[in-house]
């Protein structure tokens, strides 16, 4: 038997209608196996890249054996020479030559220095010799000078006078890591904006192509439908960006990666704002473009130009990430459709000044607002026309 629910109060409540559309959109997209799996896989991949990178680049300490009497200070010399080469040395003592030779053959040690005057190796390895020889030469030299009657402080003075002073042209030890982070940020933002944009597009197609929109629009105005959809997919995109950025942070922290300093709160914070701006800018154009086409096949002409702009912006941002300090890069990173990808790249490399970031965010925000107003007008006027393809101009001038 059919019973009747209480008739509800008349009057449209925009907030509620929009919230309903948002919730449906989230449910239809987030809680699908495909989305969750792809999110987990991507997050896992990012962490995996960090772990793999650290495993490949990490070195076991170099094992050097000693037998018999050694000059004083040779172990400190070895350690400091190894540090210059970003390496570590472990010194192992042997009591007999036979033991030492056996250890070399088994690969336990790379070389054994005997009585400060002989090196036993499997075969000559210049890389190891280049580390061992100076350590012993210097120690032997000090020993010799002391034997000649110089005091230890005199020897120390003489030696330090001989070392070279270093002038650094690029003192940032993480500069390579920063550029890598810039690339990663640009690619991540591009993918996120593109994915969110295509979700919007697919959502509009789904409703228009299958005529669901007829029934929805009999219940709520088109602009609520658009607002709910943009919000829903926006939340979805934010989740995606958060998971990917979080994975990068976790990966970098776990491995103590040199990229960690570049993954600053400033980069992640502005990155999220840039995602939202880029998403609004591109997503609203995708929504309006999709609403013009009755079928997905018709969308190539309505969405062609914006796809080209998106790709150009992506290439521009790759260029900017490789040369973030140049004048061209500074200018490009102020162009609204390119800013969401280019400016975060420059933030990652540390080349963007704070006022550049804030200023270009404002410019992009104004552009996004303008595009949103235009897109809303086109969407509201064209979404109900399920019978034929409309042009941008035609849709703009239709009666609502």
């Amino acid at each position: 038997m059919t019973s009747f629910s209480t008739p509800t109060a008349p009057g449209m409540r925009p907030g509620r209608a929009i919230a309903l559309v948002t919730r449906r959109e989230l449910k239809a997209r987030v809680f699908t196996k495909g989305f969750l799996i792809s999110l987990l896989v991507t997050g896992g991949l990012i962490i995996g890249i960090f772990v793999l990178g650290s495993v490949l680049s990490s070195n076991d300490p170099l094992q050097v054996g000693v037998l018999g009497q050694q000059p004083e200070g040779v172990e400190q010399n070895l350690a400091s020479l190894a540090e210059i080469r970003d390496d570590e040395v472990e010194v192992i003592r042997f009591d007999t030559r036979a033991e030492a030779e056996a250890a070399i053959v088994s690969g336990e040690v790379s070389a054994v220095v005997v009585e400060g005057s002989e090196v036993i190796m499997d075969r000559t390895d210049n890389d190891i010799l280049g580390l061992i020889s100076p350590a012993w030469q210097q120690a032997n030299l000090v020993d010799g000078l002391v034997t000649q009657g110089l005091s230890e402080s005199q020897v120390g003075e003489a030696l330090s006078g001989g070392s070279l002073r270093v002038t650094e042209l690029d003192p940032d030890p993480e500069s390579d890591a920063r550029i890598a982070v810039a690339f990663a940020t640009v690619i991540l933002l591009f993918i996120s904006v593109q994915v969110a944009g295509s979700y919007i597009m697919m959502g509009v197609f789904e409703e228009k192509g299958s005529k669901i929109v007829e029934l929805v629009l009999a219940s709520i105005p088109a602009r609520y439908l658009l607002a709910g959809k943009v919000l829903g997919v926006g939340v979805l995109g934010l989740v995606q960006v958060a998971v990917l950025a979080g994975s990068a942070l976790i990966g970098a922290s776990l491995t103590g990666s040199s990229a960690l300093p570049a993954l600053s709160p400033a980069l992640i914070g502005t990155g999220i704002v840039w995602f939202l701006l880029g998403y609004l800018l591109y997503g609203s154009v995708f929504a309006a473009g999709a609403s013009l086409a009755p079928r997905q096949e018709d969308a190539q002409s309505t969405l062609g130009p914006i796809t080209v702009i998106l790709m150009l912006s992506y290439f521009a941002s790759i260029f900017v990430a490789t040369d973030p300090g140049s004048t061209a890069s500074r200018i490009i990173s102020w162009i609204p459709f390119a800013s969401p990808f280019t400016m975060p790249g420059r933030t990652a490399t540390g080349d963007a000044l704070w006022w550049e970031v804030v200023g270009s965010m404002l410019v992009t925000g104004i552009a996004a607002g303008t595009v949103l107003i235009i897109a809303e007008r086109v969407y509201v006027r064209s979404i109900i026309h399920t019978d034929r393809k409309l042009g941008w101009r035609e849709a703009w001038s239709l009666k609502s």
């Binding site: 019973s3 209480t6 449209m12 449906r24 239809a28 005529k211 929109v213 007829e214 009999a218």
Partner: protein
């Protein structure tokens, strides 16, 4: 009461210029079921879509209890569009509830309503199935459930019986009758005129965007002068058949055997003349006639339209 007054809509495009609706008026009182019939392209869907603001009419007004309709008012109506469409991957109970909530029902009311309506339409075992898993006929039932949810005060159904099997047709009839008894007004379009004749209190017949006949089914049938007459005479009918075949404008012999003839008269004023002819043929044992069916009237409408087109 839903009142459509003097509605006009012309579609003008690059290669189209169609006057889809031309000064059309109709009304649907609460608790009444009105059949909306007419040939394809007569303007039925345009009229129905206008109620929900999906078409922007050039002229005319649409009111509900005297107030021009707004989205707030039509959110209390149920609608089944000609172009069917629901979310393919959404579970059907969730889907019906979702549309009820869009019409401002609370979630718990909408969930309960969705379950009850789908159950009454025989879909109680499929509540948690996605729409796309259902057969075409069952998807149609879900579409109907969406229009019935949230206790609409007015139901506007564009060809609701299309694509339903006889069992589903019966179920839908029962559901509509029950709703109408509870005070809902129903306007539905259909090409199944026998069904309209059985189910409707009133009928509005349109063509080319204009109302051609309107009123109770009896009124519409009575308004037509056309009568189909069964005649039986106690002598062989051949002379009468010959006479009917050769003479008299407005009287047509449809078929005959040796004992009976079926004759159509285009106006009931010709009945006495026909009776005279029958009496001349012998003792008349049967002379019965009935008002034309809606189907007959519809056919007349279409053929007169075709004649107009030729002129």
């Amino acid at each position: 009461m839903l009142q459509v007054s003097n509605l006009s809509k012309r579609y003008v495009g690059a290669d189209v210029d169609v006057l889809a609706v031309d000064g059309l008026s109709l009304s649907v009182p609460r608790g009444r079921i009105v059949g909306f019939v007419g040939p394809n392209g007569a303007g039925k869907s345009t009229t129905m879509r206008s109620v929900f603001g999906l078409v922007d009419p050039d002229e005319g007004t649409i009111t509900w209890d005297g107030t021009p309709v707004t989205p707030a008012i039509t959110s209390r109506f149920g609608y089944m569009p000609e172009q069917r469409g629901l979310y393919p991957k959404m579970k059907i109970a969730e889907q019906v509830s979702c549309f009820a909530q869009l019409k401002m029902a609370t979630k718990s009311d909408a969930d309960r309503d969705a379950r009850e309506i789908l159950t009454s339409l025989g879909l109680e075992d499929r509540l948690n199935d996605p729409l796309e898993k259902l057969s075409h006929g069952n998807q149609q039932r879900v579409q109907l459930a969406v229009s019935l949810a949230n206790a609409p005060e007015m139901l506007i159904l564009d060809e609701p019986f299309n694509g339903l099997d006889p069992v589903a047709v019966k179920t839908l009839q029962e559901v509509l009758t029950r709703r109408v008894r509870a005070g809902t007004g129903v306007l539905f379009s259909s090409h199944q005129l026998d069904l309209v004749e059985r189910l409707c209190d009133e009928v509005v017949m349109i063509s080319k965007g204009r109302v051609r006949a309107a009123g109770t089914v009896h009124e519409v049938r009575a308004a037509s002068g056309r009568r189909v007459v069964e005649i039986a005479v106690d002598k062989p009918l051949t002379p009468l058949a010959d006479a009917l075949g050769s003479t008299t404008d407005g009287i047509t012999l449809v078929s005959h055997t040796t004992a009976t003839a079926t004759v159509e008269v285009y106006t009931k004023e010709l009945l006495p003349e026909l009776l005279q002819m029958a009496l001349a043929a012998g003792d008349v044992t049967r002379f019965s006639y009935d008002m034309p069916s809606l189907t007959n009237i519809f056919e007349d409408l279409v053929s007169s339209e075709a004649e107009e087109a030729l002129l």
